[in-house]
């Protein structure tokens, strides 16, 4: 069953699916035009509980509008799979790519996988369904909005036979069936809630074991490598390692190659599975590094990066892996991460210690026009609106 509600930049996904369903290519399948994203995820919950394989897609504001339902689906142990076209969260309204949307829901109990390119996005979906149905944990496959969702590139789409060999028919663990009536969604009080949460967490953590196994099985079937928890790139002898999730990895790897050719000891780590957090895998990959710079496409206002604190905690577990971690926030709201900026970052980082928390390519001119650093910066109100107002009143010849 596919419920759908459109939001940029996911619209073509739900449009294409509606055509596929109408042409009967996914039969037996029902497609429902939901009245909102909250409705869409609620439809998923009902359909999944009734025993159907269920899928939807959303982004940004839509993901947040269904936030309550996300936690509900996870708490009910329903194996829903959802594509999230990563897009910034407003205000200010912004339809372009960053990862603040899915990362804001990292505690919801959903497995989160991040695709580096469209081949990975394609391959991660059958893996997602398999994981979800085995573990009774919903899975979101995240792909950078516009950058990946609107890219045309060469990929190999597996045949139906291959997918069927990998993903068996859905056998629901619990189901609404008049022949075997059960109540799903009871109220659980203080005496058992902790244990319910503990058990669900345990199920999610099993993905750390299962995902590499499933990826290997999938890789054998399709004849090419498949994504799993995290992967290293040119880590041999790399003293400075850059860690990232999503589409920036392609550009980053080009820059790493150039830097290596210049003799810099740098490498990269691609993080694919963010939830559950693959602490052990990352400890292994980063064992030889001196510093890790985490490129983050989101951050936690008033605090720090989102991936970095989790990485630091993972590395600090005894025996501690002595790697210095810092955060570079880049690509917010769709700002392209350029090779030029990355080259500078790589060169600077290889030469000296990176700042703990910084923003890539901050536009100082724009900041100063907004009054940054001056007393007038203390004025309350929306930063964006104030900045826009100032832009229109500056005294400059036209």
């Amino acid at each position: 069953m596919v419920p759908a509600y459109p939001i940029s930049p996911q619209t073509h996904i739900v449009e294409a699916l509606s055509a596929l369903v109408r042409r009967g290519e996914l039969a037996p399948c029902e497609y429902i035009n939901a009245e909102s994203e909250f409705g869409a995820m609620s439809l998923c919950i009902g359909a999944s509980a009734a025993g159907s394989r269920t899928y939807t897609a959303t982004s940004s504001q839509g993901l947040l509008f269904m936030a309550e339902a996300l936690y509900n689906a996870a708490g009910l142990g329903l194996p829903v799979v959802m594509t999230v076209a990563n897009r910034a969260l407003g205000a200010p309204i912004n339809i372009w790519n960053d990862q603040s949307d899915s990362l804001s829901q990292r505690d919801s109990g959903w497995i989160q996988l991040y695709a580096r390119d469209n081949q990975a996005a394609c391959d991660l979906h059958p893996i997602a369904f398999r994981l979800a149905e085995e573990l009774s944990v919903p899975v979101m496959v995240c792909m950078d909005g516009f950058v990946l969702t609107h890219a045309v590139e060469r990929i190999a789409v597996p045949d139906q036979e291959v997918v069927d060999a990998f993903l068996p028919a859905y056998r629901p663990q619990q189901i609404l069936d008049p022949d075997v009536p059960m109540s799903i969604g009871a109220m659980v009080g203080p005496e058992a809630f902790t244990e319910v949460r503990f058990l669900a967490d345990g199920r999610m953590r099993r993905a750390l074991l299962r995902m590499p196994e499933l990826a290997e099985r999938y890789a054998k079937l399709v004849g090419r490598p498949a994504e799993h928890l995290a992967r290293g790139y040119r880590l041999d002898g790399a003293r400075t390692v850059f860690l990232a999730m999503g589409s920036v990895l392609g550009t980053l790897e080009d820059v790493i190659d150039e830097a290596r050719a210049d003799g810099l000891a740098v490498g990269a780590v691609e993080l694919t599975c963010f939830r559950p957090f693959p602490a052990q895998r990352l400890r292994t990959l980063l064992a030889g590094a001196e510093q890790v710079i985490v490129l983050e496409r989101a951050f936690s206002a008033g605090a720090a990066g989102i991936i970095t604190p989790e990485l630091i905690a993972a590395l600090a577990d005894p025996p501690a892996v002595p790697v210095r971690c810092s955060t570079v926030v880049a690509g917010l709201g769709g700002r392209p991460i350029t090779k030029k900026a990355l080259r500078m970052l790589v060169r600077d980082a290889a030469a000296s210690r990176a700042a703990r928390f910084s923003f890539l390519g901050l536009d100082r001119d724009l900041l100063s026009r907004a009054g940054y650093g001056r007393a007038s910066d203390d004025a309350p109100g929306s930063t964006a609106e104030r900045l826009l107002a100032r832009l229109h009143t500056r005294e400059e010849p036209r």
């Binding site: 429902i32 909102s36 439809l43 309550e68």
Partner: protein, 344 residues
């Protein structure tokens, strides 16, 4: 002796004299008992009574092939305190505001599986239907999803402590429409008429009912189950603690609500009114309001003079309903007249 029988037209008095197949579902010892004893509802709770009536009838109508989806609220909370459940039907509770959407999802899945013989019933209180659930409800209606949605209307958010909802009637006292500083409870001129909204969606079947007339309620559930597509049933269910009424008066109060004209009983199909139940013994609204302490401030109380003006306005509302639905007349009113006058 002059014995007045209520529900004379429904033959409830003569249930035992009827052939088996004409009796109420509740009269059948082999009824589904979809909601069994052991739940934690208050004494005299109208909602669990209504739910049992509705579900047992739906189970009878579907030969036991029914799935129920429940919103958060009193009904859900009292019936499923982990690890117990009072439900003997397959039952799913998700969130407060999404029961119609979840029910639609269940129906879609069953259709995709080729099991549309299993019917879906969604249920919620007035909170989960009229306010937070309205978006999802409207979506279910406009898509004509194959769900019977039942609203058990006790006219406030009872489970969380009697706060005002979009179904709270004018002048009623609730925790968020207190009688203070000269404010007489809930404001006049607000509120939603969800049966009218359902009719405006032109769905196959819409009906109102109460727990006072079991046979009428059962007949409406049966009628609803004869249709496929979106159907809506709005059931008035008094709440003793919320209304401030005695727990023994639940059924009587529901009857007074219809007999006063404040809660008209009617059916509609595809946007057209098809029936309205005449009032057998009309009562002034006072008789209905007086036994409920949520209206106590309207009546003279010690030195306080009460609010006869507001009672008069409530009476006007009842009179309007009686005119609109032809509850004392032999003729059927037309829908346009109804929609013009159905706002306060």
């Amino acid at each position: 002796m002059n014995v007045k029988f209520y529900q004379v037209g429904s033959l409830a008095v003569g249930n035992r004299l009827l052939p088996q197949e004409e009796r109420a579902a509740q009269a059948d010892p082999k009824r589904a008992n979809s909601l069994i004893s052991g739940h934690r509802a208050c004494q005299g709770c109208g909602e669990v009574l209504g739910a049992r009536y509705v579900l047992d009838t739906a189970m009878r109508a579907t030969g036991g092939k029914l799935v129920a989806v429940n919103a958060t609220g009193c009904l859900e909370v009292v019936s499923t305190p982990f690890p117990e459940s009072a439900w003997r039907v397959p039952w799913l509770h998700s969130l407060f505001g999404n029961a119609p959407a979840v029910a639609s999802g269940v129906a879609a899945a069953l259709k995709a599986q080729g099991r549309s013989d299993i019917r879906v019933l969604g249920q919620a209180g007035d909170g989960g239907t009229v306010d937070i659930g309205l978006g999802a409800l409207s979506g279910m209606f406009e898509r004509d999803d194959d769900v019977l949605f039942v609203c058990y209307d006790n006219q406030a958010y009872m489970n969380t402590g009697v706060q005002r909802s979009g179904a709270t009637p004018p002048a009623a006292r609730t925790a968020t429409t207190p009688v203070v500083a000269g404010q007489p409870g809930n404001r006049f001129g607000q509120g939603k008429d969800v049966p009218a909204i359902a009719i405006a969606h032109r769905i196959p079947y819409v009906a109102t009912a109460t727990v006072a007339d079991l046979r009428d309620l059962e007949a409406k559930v049966e009628r609803a189950m004869q249709f496929t597509g979106a159907r809506y049933l709005h059931v008035l269910v008094p709440c003793p603690p919320g209304w401030g009424s005695a727990s023994s008066q639940t059924i009587r109060l529901a009857r007074l609500a219809t007999e006063s004209g404040l809660f008209p009983l009617f059916e509609a199909e595809y946007g057209e009114l098809t029936s309205a139940t005449p009032i057998r013994h009309r009562v002034p609204v006072d008789e209905y309001l007086r036994p409920q302490t949520r209206y106590a401030h309207l009546f003279a109380h010690e030195e306080k003079g009460g609010r006869p003006d507001l009672i008069a306005r409530i009476q006007e509302q009842a009179d309007r309903n009686i005119r609109t639905y032809g509850l004392l007349a032999a003729t059927m009113p037309d829908l346009a007249q109804h929609s013009e006058r159905s706002h306060e």
